[in-house]
Amino acid sequence: MVSRVTTSLLYRELVTRVGRLQTRLAAANDEVSSQRRLREASNDPSGAALAARLQGEKADVGAVRSALGFATQVVARQDLALDQSDRILARAREIATLTANGTATVESRQQAAVEVAELERGLLAQANTELSGRYVFAGLTSGAAPFASLDDSGFDPLNPYSGPATPFLVRSGPDQTVAITTPGDQVFEPAIAAIDGLRVALAAGQAPTASIDELDDAATVLRAERTIVGGRARRLSERDGDLNAVELNLEKRLGTVQGADLTESISRLVQLQTALQATLEAGRTLQASLLDSIQL
């Protein structure tokens, strides 16, 4: 507190006060217009570090959800292919049952063999099911088909698979992965062997009695895989739901760290505007002087 007030002191203090109010007003204005409390790291240094961490986590959750979205498409494609394959095996079993009894002739069996060959081609096509050029029963590889064609000269029904023996993993969390494919040989080889055995027996005009059990066993394997695929689809959906909740929570926390409380910000802005107006009004009184009151 000064004891003697001089003319320039009055003006200087007025200018200083107005300058400070204007600086604070500009900051408050910026906060309201951007709706962000955290506009630079110095607004809240620890908040800036937290926001960077939350942004990183949010970006990663987005990347994981994108991977899960792709995995869901793969699993849906697998389910469809397994369903089709199951239908093919069911039709093959019908043919096997019809041609196994004594009323079937050699000719009728050989005619049935033609249909079974088509069914076998259909089964191999399902085993080679693609999603965007990638084989869903061969570790999502691309390029050469993992299952050989029936028309290939060296087709071996007991060993038709040439794809990878490892499953394809996708990210299901920051440090987690989940397998979304099963190597095709484990799924389709019993079915291909059974249907090929049926075709060969019928083509030879023989009763395919052994094929019925083989087809039943192969259908069991396919249905087991379909159960696994269904379980995968459910887990992927649940995981995506969990991550959706995590993402929402991260957004909420980011909003708390970065966002401005508009009610508080606008109140402060109005307060500062009022203070500035009052200070400028008070400055008018500086125009009064002893000179106005005396006659020299």
Binding site: R4, T16, A41
Partner: protein, 456 residues
């Protein structure tokens, strides 16, 4: 007592009141002059006994020397805080909290790596990963370049300051020469004000200690004790290139006093003021920030290249991967891989294998000893907090320094500043004194007339 004595007294009063009026006039005229110290005419009686007059014994500057010294120190602190705040804000601008900062670029890079793990054979996804890696390297490089530019700016300002300080030192020495020869009526007070202003300006550049001599001269010393002005002799500051290299690889400068032989004796210890702050920023703060950024860049480079060049890592053509990043640090970090097929996403020759891409994504959550156990993203976050904290501290220090300087300035102004109300009052006082002295002349004149009438 002679009949002429009242006339003589009146004459001395007229002269004294006139001189006091002129001092008041000078105060009023300089009401808005920065650094002006109000003056006061000190009246004292002339002669002894009852027959004296009045005279202006001196025209004094109304100053508080203790306040003056404190104000000089606060000017130095204010200069230092101003530079720290300026640079802290500029460093902070290199580490934005939103938009395209290093953290966002890092997140984008790992998101692209995650996408690669889902689509390891897609060339478009691989190209996107390379583009994200390039964006990340560019951001790190531009931040490192920004820090190097700031360091060069600090060094340039040290060189400029040396050039700017020399005329001030010369001016103080020149005023030291003039002040002892002048008397208050011939402008000695105004010269003292000019010298005080020059010293205050010098104090914002570096800490100074002022020793006033009985003959009116003032010697000025740096905080280290080096003499800057001794009487009418001014030292010459010079900034010479040293063997120390800056972040940009060019030589930095050392500030010193030029000796008689033309050599430069470095100013030892902390300089204080703007120069001290610039020196601290240039030699410690900015290199520390650049060091942290270097640690981040080299850790990223080594980690990514380690995954990319793993012995069992295979690119799209089944070949062992080549390094993705090149460079020796943050300043020259770049993407070395041009062909997206060269990214080793697999750990086997099997097409579609994504195992190495998953290993690349896993770097996001890896804790690195080279970053004191922090993850890459967290290290960047900590760097943001450090830079932000420094900017906030610098802003707080500047506010404190401004408040202290304003308070001292107000106190000094309270003692030495011009109050128009006071001056107007003095004007009336001296005007009335002058009028009264005029009346005394008139009365003396009438007495003389009456006396002469008796003779006639």
């Amino acid at each position: 007592m002679s009949i002429f004595t009242p006339l003589s007294i009146a004459r001395s009063a007229l002269v004294a009141q006139q001189r006091a009026l002129s001092v008041t006039g000078a105060n009023i005229a300089n009401v808005n002059t920065p650094g002006y110290t109000r003056q006061r005419a000190v009246l004292s009686p002339v002669g002894e006994g009852e027959a004296g007059g009045v005279r202006v014994s001196t025209i004094e500057r109304v100053v508080d020397r203790l306040l003056d010294a404190r104000e000089l120190r606060s000017a130095s602190a204010l200069g230092s805080a101003g530079v720290e705040r300026d640079f802290a804000d500029r460093v902070q601008a290199l580490f934005p909290v939103d938009g395209s900062n290093i953290g966002t670029a890092l997140d984008d890079f790992f998101s692209a790596a995650s996408e690669l793990s889902t689509h390891p054979e897609e060339v478009a996804v691989r190209s996107d990963l390379l583009a994200r890696a390039d964006a990340l390297a560019t951001r790190i490089r531009s931040t490192a370049q920004g820090l190097a530019d700031l360091q060069r700016d600090a060094d340039g300002r040290i060189v400029d300051s040396a050039r700017d300080v020399n005329p001030i030192l010369a001016q103080i020495a020149r005023l030291n020469r003039s002040i002892p020869a002048a008397d208050p009526s011939s402008g000695a007070n105004e010269l003292a004000d000019q010298r005080r202003q020059a010293i205050a300006e010098l104090a914002t550049r570096l800490d100074v200690r002022v020793v006033e001599r009985p003959n009116g001269t003032a010697d000025v010393f740096a905080a280290s004790g080096a003499a800057l002005v001794l009487g009418d002799q001014a030292a010459e500051l010079a900034a010479e290139p040293t063997s120390d290299l800056g972040l940009d690889g060019s030589a930095l400068h050392a500030l010193g006093v030029r000796d008689a032989g033309g050599g430069v004796i470095p100013l030892a210890g902390p300089l204080g003021g703007e120069l001290g702050a610039l020196q601290e920023l240039r030699d410690t703060t900015l290199p520390d920030d650049a060091g942290a950024l270097d640690a981040f860049a080299t850790t990223l480079r080594d980690a990514v290249n380690g995954v990319q060049t793993a012995a069992s890592g295979r690119d799209l053509d089944g070949l062992v991967g080549q390094p993705l990043f090149s460079g020796t640090g943050a300043a020259d970090l770049a993407v070395a891989l041009a062909d997206p097929r060269g990214i080793a996403a697999a750990l086997s020759a099997t097409p579609g294998d994504n195992a190495n891409a998953l290993a690349l994504v896993a770097l996001r959550t890896t804790e690195f000893p080279s970053l004191s156990g922090a993850r890459l993203g967290d290290f960047h976050g900590d760097l943001l907090a450090q830079v932000g904290g420094r900017a906030r501290d610098a802003a707080d220090r500047l506010t404190v320094a401004e408040n202290l300087a304003a308070s001292l300035s107000a106190q000094r102004e309270s003692v030495s500043g011009v109050s128009l109300e006071e001056e107007f009052t003095d004007l009336i006082r001296f005007q009335h004194g002058f009028q009264a002295a005029g009346q005394l002349v008139a009365v003396s004149n009438r007495l003389l007339d009456d006396l002469m009438g008796l003779v006639r």
